[in-house]
Symmetry: C2
Subunit: 588 residues, 2 copies
């Protein structure tokens, strides 16, 4: 190991020296001297060209025995001791592999790693064109036939997808598609983003009017173009929508709006996709080498089949089709569901003087937004001048296995600080839940991306009875209401189904084939073995941002924070493949 600054923690320096020695002879190493029995090594591309957490010394040793020779880690150097998460038992380091510059973070217990994070951050020789590598823009010399910047952009618009095929096609132009496209642009990977809607941001604009981000703005930055620091802590649907439009323009993303992908077939021989798209009334076939589905965590709207629904005389629609309750004053409205959308729509209905009943069919996790806000004030992301890339690594240095235990404690904490709130909510009849294993809201997000409400005012309306509550299953819909399993009747003029979505993996079946859908399997979820997230345990989000069982098929999804962080990893994988770099994936 290279000499570290004098104040770098000694125990960490010692561990790094032993780690470096182990990397020189991985098969001969007793990895239990380096990792605790429950030690986790989370690797983001650096060693495995995959996103994977190895749990325990045996798993670590097996990986190292195969991968170290293939990726050739070297130049291990302690990073600045001034970084956060540096103390007597933890610290940051940097290293290189054959093709990447990487960062690492280690957390020790009694001289052994409890957690190790390794992450590729840049490809050597294929760096992004920013900072010292920014282009000149113009040559200070007269030259006949040259194009201006605008003429270049117009030329690209005429040729890309027609005479020139994109290396990468991204289906879906929400935050995930755009952030990935921005990164690929800076890596000079020819990319086209298509979206069924006309403009970037239209996906947000199509949500209900009262939607605001639940995450504070400092978690939500897009790469390369941070939000100005006067942006509100919580942004509305429309403000984020505008930002997507701004971002696509500022980043010069090649975006086809009003374009629907109808089929995709991978041509093994040619090593490329044949993707059929409908655009402006005509059908085109695109031939990208790589196909990224960035269509969101949700698949198609899900509405349960309820007997009699067809004869209901009022309005009934899925929550995804709710914009505003402005025209529902005085109307008897029933919202089926008790997660985020259900609550938010109930509040919107109440704010517009509708009569509101929520049908809660199963217990729901609730956390108070204001409590989360108090907690988030102190995190590194929230500090003025925080380095967002570093913050993302800090957040990542927390694999899902230890995180599960942590979240149990966090749920306990919330139940203590908000004890009065939870008691009042339960007294109102609301069926409160904290997850199968009491791991609460965060794990529900990773496991099922559903099952919770971040309270921004709805719970108070439930406590005060302004929103009526009903429980149990619905057995039928009549002309003018809902028949409940307990035999009661719930009159309704409007029914809103906040009943969720089909799994995102179904897109694969629809666009490509049921065979590929089966082979690729589920997306999202950790394999935690609970309802909605069957085992086996994976330890990372399934199929997200990493190689899938279908060559050339990738998934990019998640919230703004995940979209930002993991778009880097997907972009690096795509660039490495375009350049023909060796990318030995583990496990193969």
């Amino acid at each position: 190991m290279a000499d570290a600054a004098g104040t770098f923690p000694e125990a960490v320096q010692d561990w790094l020296a032993r780690f470096e020695s182990a990397l020189a002879a991985p098969a001969a190493t007793d990895w239990s001297t380096l990792f605790t029995a429950d030690g986790c090594w989370r690797d983001l591309l650096a060693f495995t060209w995959n996103i994977i957490t190895l749990e325990g010394p045996a798993a670590v040793g097996a990986m190292a025995a195969r991968q170290v020779a293939l990726v050739a880690p070297h130049e291990l150097t302690a990073d600045s001791p001034a970084l956060p998460m540096t103390d007597a038992n933890q610290g940051w380091f940097r290293f290189r592999t054959q093709h990447a510059r990487c960062r690492g973070q280690v957390q020790l217990r009694d001289g052994r790693a409890h957690i190790l994070l390794t992450a590729a951050i840049e490809l050597v020789g294929h760096e992004e064109c920013g900072g010292p590598r920014r282009p000149d823009g113009i040559e200070h010399r007269a030259a006949r036939g040259r194009r201006t910047w605008l003429e270049e952009r117009q030329h690209a618009a005429r040729t890309l997808g027609h005479t020139e095929q994109p290396y990468c096609l991204i289906v879906g132009g929400g935050q995930n598609g755009l952030m990935l496209a921005a990164r690929l642009k800076r890596l000079n990977v020819p990319t086209l983003v298509i979206d069924a809607m006309e403009k970037p941001g239209d996906g947000w604009r199509a949500r209900y009017r009262s939607l605001y981000l639940h995450d504070p703005i400092f978690l939500d930055h897009f790469p390369y173009l941070p939000f100005p620091d006067h942006w509100p802590l919580y942004s509305s649907r429309d403000k984020i929508a505008d930002w997507l439009e701004i971002y696509a323009k500022a980043m010069e993303i090649d975006f086809w709006g009003g374009t629907r992908c109808t089929a995709a077939r991978y041509d093994e021989q040619a090593g490329r996709w044949e993707v059929t798209v409908e655009r402006g009334g005509s059908t085109l076939v695109l031939q990208p080498r790589q196909l990224v589905l960035a269509t969101g965590l949700s698949g198609a709207r899900y509405i349960p089949e309820l007997p009699g629904a067809a004869r209901f005389r009022g309005r009934q629609y899925h929550s995804a089709d709710h914009d505003s309750a402005a025209d529902l004053a005085g109307r008897q409205c029933v919202v089926i569901g008790s997660n985020n959308s259900a609550h938010d729509i109930c509040v919107d209905l109440w704010e517009h003087d509708a009569k509101v009943t929520m049908v809660q069919r199963s217990p729901t996790i609730v956390v108070r937004a204001d409590t989360m806000r108090e907690i988030s004030k102190d995190i590194y992301y929230a500090q003025p001048g925080a380095d967002v890339d570093l913050a993302d690594l800090m957040f990542a240095a927390n694999p899902f296995r230890p995180r599960t235990a942590f979240e149990r404690g966090f749920t306990d904490y919330l139940r203590t600080v908000d004890a009065d709130f939870y008691r009042r909510l339960e007294n109102s009849g609301f069926q409160l839940w904290h997850g199968e294993d009491e791991t609460g809201f965060f794990m529900a997000y990773y496991r099922r991306a559903a099952g919770y409400y971040i309270d921004v005012g709805g719970s108070e309306l439930i406590c005060s009875g302004e929103i009526s509550l009903r429980h149990g299953e619905i057995v039928e819909i009549t002309e003018d209401g809902l028949g409940m399993a307990d035999g009661s009747f719930l009159p309704a003029e409007v029914i809103i189904y906040a009943t969720g979505y089909r799994p995102m993996s179904e897109w694969v079946g629809q666009l490509i084939s049921p065979e590929v859908e089966r082979r690729v399997g589920r997306c999202w979820g950790l394999g935690s073995g609970i309802e909605g997230d069957p085992g086996p345990w994976e330890g990372e989000l399934r199929n997200m941002w990493k190689p899938t069982a279908q060559q050339g098929l990738w998934f990019q999804g998640g919230n703004l924070m995940q979209a930002r962080f993991h778009s880097l990893h997907l972009a690096l994988q795509l660039k490495a493949r375009m350049e023909g770099l060796s990318t030995p994936v583990y496990p193969c």
Copy 2:
């Protein structure tokens, strides 16, 4: 003075202590013990609520004797010794006045100030709504009748300029109008920007296609939303135009495109303007308290009256109307003028295979863009992670009087490093110049905003004869060419008048009245006593970003760097007046 960090330069600490004592008794102070005989104190609002440079101890003493009691400077503290421009003889400090937080920088010679900069950066109690003061965006509580962010914006669009009058009206929505509006937005000053063109950026789009910024991108950042770091070093017309559009949207600037200001009258009694504007076919009267002209440094196009011009059979137009030479291949084109636009249009013509002659009527300053680029590489602005606000202060800590001497040396330097280039250019017959007093390009910009060419390839075409040169005055235009003063004839199918613009102050005469135009006087220029910039010496740019002789009338203009920096000063002055703070202007 408060205790400074141990390593702060002793001489500077000593001077600051003496300065603080002097401020306690300004009339009793011998200011020649604090300032050298040629010492300059440049103040940006902090002491004078003006932009002014006081030259010599007597001028300093006169100002201090009047202003110190009025603005009450206090809490003088040495700033971080880690800042650039800190060494044994210079350093930064901070202080407060009655209403402002301020920064200062002093440069000593033998214990006395050769240069002192003092600058207000923030109003106490009226800070911008950024960072820790960012708004929440949403209250986490159900509430009937509340508006979403979009609904608020729509409401503002319906009312501002109609039922609600803006406090400030900005005429001109280029970079100057937009940056000022962005700052006022963060200061919660109701502001409306109007522009004759439809969209922000259209002013740039209306320039010639081959226009690129001459300043490298790190000088060009807009406040609050820095360019992504992959933006090219030199940006094209259209890319900057798009950025203006992006910026107006991201900053939520209230912008009326397609709106022409036709008249303005100040109502002394009411203390507000009556501004007549034409918008969408109808006439409105706006009643702002403050009126900012941000219409650019140039007034109307200027075309000299040449006998016979009416009978010319070819095309003739002002350089401002040149877009592209794409349809001029093979045509005999004459460009009258030898400054930036003239050269750039000549290059565009040559690139499109036109036959090009430049008529040089007077000697021209030329600097090589590539030389400027080499030099600019090392400046603080160009360093990764540079603090642009600090960089702007560093640049400002250089009043125009000492700068004039510096620029003479800089011109010498350019003539040495580019000696071969200048020799070749002169040998080609080009009449080269370095300014009346050899102060070159920069001073020409401050004095007349004209008279120079930043060479981006045109000079080489002149040296090689690809662009023909003619000299002297034009005595007449015929059906098919130009009659020159030396009796020669210059055939032409196309004549392009790169002959500049009327002074910006003429807008005042046109919009308000000739009487107010006279009273306000010239805009821009330092009063250096050369042609185009008559004395007396002012030491700062006349009327720019500071109080004028007409109450409620302000000028905001300049390049991107000036627009960014000085929009802060104008915004602070406007906000202070809106809040009714005491703003004693010196001299009164």
